[in-house]
């Protein structure tokens, strides 16, 4: 009798476990094809599914998200959202909830996550500097005042962060591998650096200059790195146009053996030899470029433009350097994000309240997602890329 009862109980237990696991499997999901769209005036983010081409959730209460950016934890579950108001918010993409938030400064301009995923750094305009937080708890672990508006913050290999001082023309490298930050200061970057990027291999850091022609490159494999001016005299000084929106330097739009950079105050993008860092050519564009981003395979570069020509996107063919396609998605195209293998691109059209999704080969529009004043689009694949 006891034996029969035990057998029944065992069968029931096994049955229950199987049922629970099946039920869980129905709701379990990966996060590798998720992403986030910033709704800048709503203080919210949409959580989007790349494969479904749809929004699957929305998280609110993130503060002033003008000029907001996002980085991801290595497991691609958590998004860290950096708001203009100094807010650092941590969002669980799977539970679609805000799990932590600190107002860490009065005025911030983006952030980065360390290569080991343990530290999140934020660069601040006011008070100028960088603050570093524990990615788990959002407790502050380091405060690095610079006495300047601080821009171009990126992560570098070896638990380092690199950033640049708008007012002082210096780049600082903060090494947090031993806990307390060790700072290396590099002077002579140039007048008013406005943004910077780091190459995907973590070797080169390039700062764009607003106050003078050209950019400054650092080889982070050198110790200490010596600043090297590149593209000096690319022509901003010839007849500078009013700059209604600062270009952004994001990632290394490496297209074959050369990469592309937006020119400041000119209707051009500039091609640079990846090895020598010499200019190899220019492409005339519709307006002043804001983002010039390479499709992940490097075959195309997509460019959007500053106000008032910001209703247009142009596609440049990398081998020829020629514009091969123009789109007019609508008023105020703010950002473009490629799917990790580049088959699609998502475009935010702020004043139309839409995300448009395009096939990058046929340029056919594949879908739309409604969003409230959308700006940045960030896919979780960024979690595994240096400098993004």
């Amino acid at each position: 009798m006891t034996r029969i009862l035990a057998a029944v109980l065992l069968a029931l237990t096994i049955g229950f476990t199987v049922w629970v696991n099946n039920a869980l499997a129905e709701t379990l999901r990966g996060s590798g094809d998720l992403g986030v769209v910033v709704e800048r005036t709503a203080g919210a983010i949409l959580i989007v599914d790349q494969s479904e081409r749809a929004a699957i959730g929305r998280v609110t209460g993130l503060g002033d998200l003008s000029h907001a950016s996002v980085v991801f934890s290595p497991d691609q579950r958590y998004a860290f959202v950096f708001g203009r108001d100094g807010g650092l918010s941590k969002v669980d993409l799977l539970k679609q909830t805000l799990v932590g938030r600190v107002l860490q400064s009065g005025n911030a301009i983006g952030g980065a996550i360390s290569d080991d995923g343990r530290l999140v750094a934020v660069s601040n305009y006011e008070p100028g500097g960088v603050r570093v937080f524990d990615a788990e708890t959002l407790d502050m672990v380091a405060d690095i005042p610079t006495g300047s508006k601080t821009i171009g913050l990126v992560d570098a290999p070896g638990r380092q962060f690199v950033f640049t001082l708008w007012d002082h023309g210096e780049t600082w490298i903060a090494d947090l591998s031993k806990g307390t930050p060790e700072i290396t200061k590099i002077e002579g970057i140039g007048e008013n650096p406005y943004d910077a990027l780091i190459t995907a291999d973590g070797r080169r850091y390039i700062a764009g200059l607003f106050g003078e022609d050209g950019l400054t490159a650092l080889d982070l494999w050198q110790s200490p790195p010596a600043p090297r001016r590149i593209l000096a005299g690319y022509g901003r000084g010839e007849a500078p146009l009013p700059v209604y929106k600062m270009p952004h330097l994001e990632g290394w739009a490496l297209a074959g053996e050369r990469f592309v950079l937006p020119a400041v105050g000119r209707h051009e993008v500039l091609w640079v030899d990846a090895r020598s860092l010499e200019e190899t050519g220019r492409t005339k564009t519709h307006g002043q470029p804001v983002f010039a981003v390479a499709r992940p395979d490097g075959r195309q570069v997509w460019v959007n433009f500053a106000h008032p020509l910001n209703d247009t996107v142009q596609v440049i063919d990398t081998p020829s350097g020629e514009v091969i396609h123009s789109l007019k998605p609508g008023p105020a195209v703010l950002h473009m994000e490629f799917t990790p293998r580049g088959h699609e691109v998502w475009v935010s059209v702020r004043d139309a309240g839409r995300i448009d999704i395009y096939d990058t080969r046929s340029f056919e529009k594949l879908g739309e997602i409604a969003a409230e004043t959308p700006s940045g689009i960030f896919f979780t694949a960024r979690a595994h890329r240096t400098g993004l």
Binding site: R40, T41, D64, L65, S66, H67, R84, D85, G106, N107, I109, Y125, E126, K149, W166, N192, Y194, F210, P242, V243, Y244, K245, M246, H307, P308, A332, R350, D351, T373
Partner: protein, 108 residues
């Protein structure tokens, strides 16, 4: 739409100096200008206008400034800073509207 700057001298000739208030703007233009201030000026001054790369331009900070002075900054920019001249895109009446909008703390 005809560019306002081009018509401006003509309007002055015909009607004398026009009163520079919101009524001068074409229908719907005020809403466009408000969006321009919040969204596009906001890319440097912040969506709440409390500052970013550019300074704080909220009403209490601007208190004491003249409408004309602010409109001139909008039209001609501030040399040596990233503040661009907006006269290629905005008329004097529109710059004046923006100056009043800022001084009134978000009311035209």
């Amino acid at each position: 739409m005809p560019r306002l700057p081009a018509l401006f001298p003509l309007a002055v000739l015909l009607f004398g100096m026009p009163p520079l208030d919101a009524a001068e703007l074409a229908p719907g233009r005020a809403a466009e200008l408000e969006r321009l201030v919040l969204q596009d000026c906001g890319s440097c001054h912040g969506l709440t206008l409390k500052g970013g790369l550019g300074p704080d331009i909220r009403a209490p900070t601007l208190a004491g400034r003249s409408t004309e002075g602010l409109a001139a900054i909008v039209l001609h920019g501030v040399p040596g800073t990233p503040m661009p001249p907006w006269h290629p895109l905005l008329s004097e009446a529109e710059a004046q509207w923006i100056a009043e909008y800022l001084l009134n703390g978000g009311a035209p």
